[in-house]
Amino acid sequence: MRNEKTTTIYLGPQHPGITGNMMVKLEIQGDTVVKAETHIGYLHRGFEKLMERRNWLQSFTIVCRICVPEPDPNEENYARGVEEIEGREVPEKARWIRMLVLELARIQAYLLWYGGQSGSAGLYTIGQWSVGDRNYVLDLFEELTGGRVYHMYIWPGGVRRDLPKGFKSRVAKVMDYIEKRLDDYDRVMFDNAVFQKRTQGIGYIPPEKAIEWGVVGPPLRAAGIASDVRKDDPYEFYDQVDFVVPDMYNTSDVWARALVRRFEIRQSINIVRQILDKMPDKGPVWNKIPNPHKWRIPRGEAYVKTESARGEFGYYVVSDGSEHPRRIHVRGPAYVHGITLLEKILVGQNIADVSVIMNSLGTCPPEMER
């Protein structure tokens, strides 16, 4: 005889296993999830509305706050959206610096993910290491931009400042160090039987449905589909650097997503080295904008996207020809991953695996609510 009775439990908003200020309402039967429902609304800050009251330059200062673990794709999207509508040129060196910042941001986001993914599987040591090592990247950001987490560095027309003296060599040093450390993470995380058992076959996304369900980024590549905005719709100078988009890890479970990220952080380190190599030493980094109070963007719209560590980050920017944005609509990867997709793939999973799956999808409430 099987008991058909279900119990409702609330994972979050206050729960160590949840990835931020959100809640997943689970109906469970024994240990198995039979229904999941995502509830958001704990973190809404109304950025999209605020931007309608601000002018184009003032709006730039708040876009980075939309995503906490990786703010730079927001700045990049905003800047590129404005530039596309206005037709503003960006100096060559600024575009290389933007790429450098975006790749460093990706590396630190992956290091943070190492902590979250292994922590949710019960391995806490890796998180201590990787978040510690992430600080070296944040140090670089602090030196370059003045801010460790939010940088407000990539802005319309270029970047805010040129690289400090000797910055390139310090970046190279940190890259060498992190590359060495990745082998240590492999030993304690990927070679660990606990981690393998907890992730293999968990959180399966059917590859034939993945595109239709709106999956992007590492979860899509873990389904065997080589899709990356940097290759598919190249921005800045991504068509001039060599990197591989992985499609060989195609089991479409948490394990495959972990392997994709493990592969990509090494690719990013490689890209950073190429950027340092190819970046011109001299040249302007900013195409000056007019007086911000009088800065009008011609009427028009643009859909711009950037590959963040969690997938495609899209901005739909609309201008009505005035000093204020008409509408800026943000589409973060978690908007789909954390709501409709999560509700689908949690069904039938063990309750202990819920936070493992959430970490592998990169659900992030700040970008679901903006």
Binding site: E52, I211, E212, H293, E301, Y303, R331, T340
Partner: protein
């Protein structure tokens, strides 16, 4: 020069199939095609793009409030995974009677976008299933993303200022007074 063959092919094929139901078609730039259709045809246009043209991935649904022109503009942004092209399909909805067709049977993730638009713009989607509350709680005011919703007015009505800031100064004015500089007309509205 960028190769726009496929972009033009999309427009040609859509025009051939839908004739005058598709208007304002243009290639915005490489990998971006824009077109506009009417509310009654949007479902068939999106289904055609998905099933026949291969635009399998729904990237985004955006909504813009053109209050002066008395319309909401809903923008469906689709992505072609093989040809690597985004198509933006725009639809106008009457602002006084905001009803739009529901498309979450075509792409399941459209459900979240539509729920948010229902809540933030007050647009009703015919046959949309899902809790009415997504982000807001017990909201009975005007839908907050509409242009005529005044954020500042709402804040003044519902919140009070923290005490201890009575001597807060208007920095711009203080500096202007000290240096004898005159605040330009356009900058005055930014002064507190």
């Amino acid at each position: 020069m960028a190769d726009l063959t496929y972009e033009n092919k999309v427009i040609l094929e859509m025009r051939e199939h839908f004739r005058d139901k598709i208007i304002e078609t243009r290639v915005q730039r490489e990998r971006r095609v824009v077109m506009r259709t009417s509310k009654d045809n949007i479902e068939s246009v999106l289904l055609f793009l998905k099933e026949k043209m291969g635009f399998l991935h729904l990237s985004h649904i955006g909504c813009v409030d053109w209050m002066e022109e008395n319309r909401f503009e809903i923008v469906y942004i689709l992505w072609h995974p093989q040809e690597k092209i985004n198509v933006l399909v725009k639809v106008d909805i009457d602002r006084l009677n905001p009803v739009a067709p529901n498309i979450d049977y075509i792409w399941p993730q459209a459900n979240t976008y539509e729920r948010e638009m229902r809540e933030m713009f007050g647009i009703e989607f015919e046959g949309l299933v899902g809790p009415r509350e997504l982000i807001l709680e017990d909201w009975d005011d005007l839908p907050p993303m509409r242009r005529d919703f005044d954020t500042l007015h709402y804040v003044m009505e519902n919140y009070s200022f923290r005490s201890g800031r009575e001597d807060a100064q208007n920095v711009r004015e203080v500096i202007a007074n000290r240096t004898g500089e005159e605040i330009p007309e356009f900058a005055k509205k930014y002064s507190r």
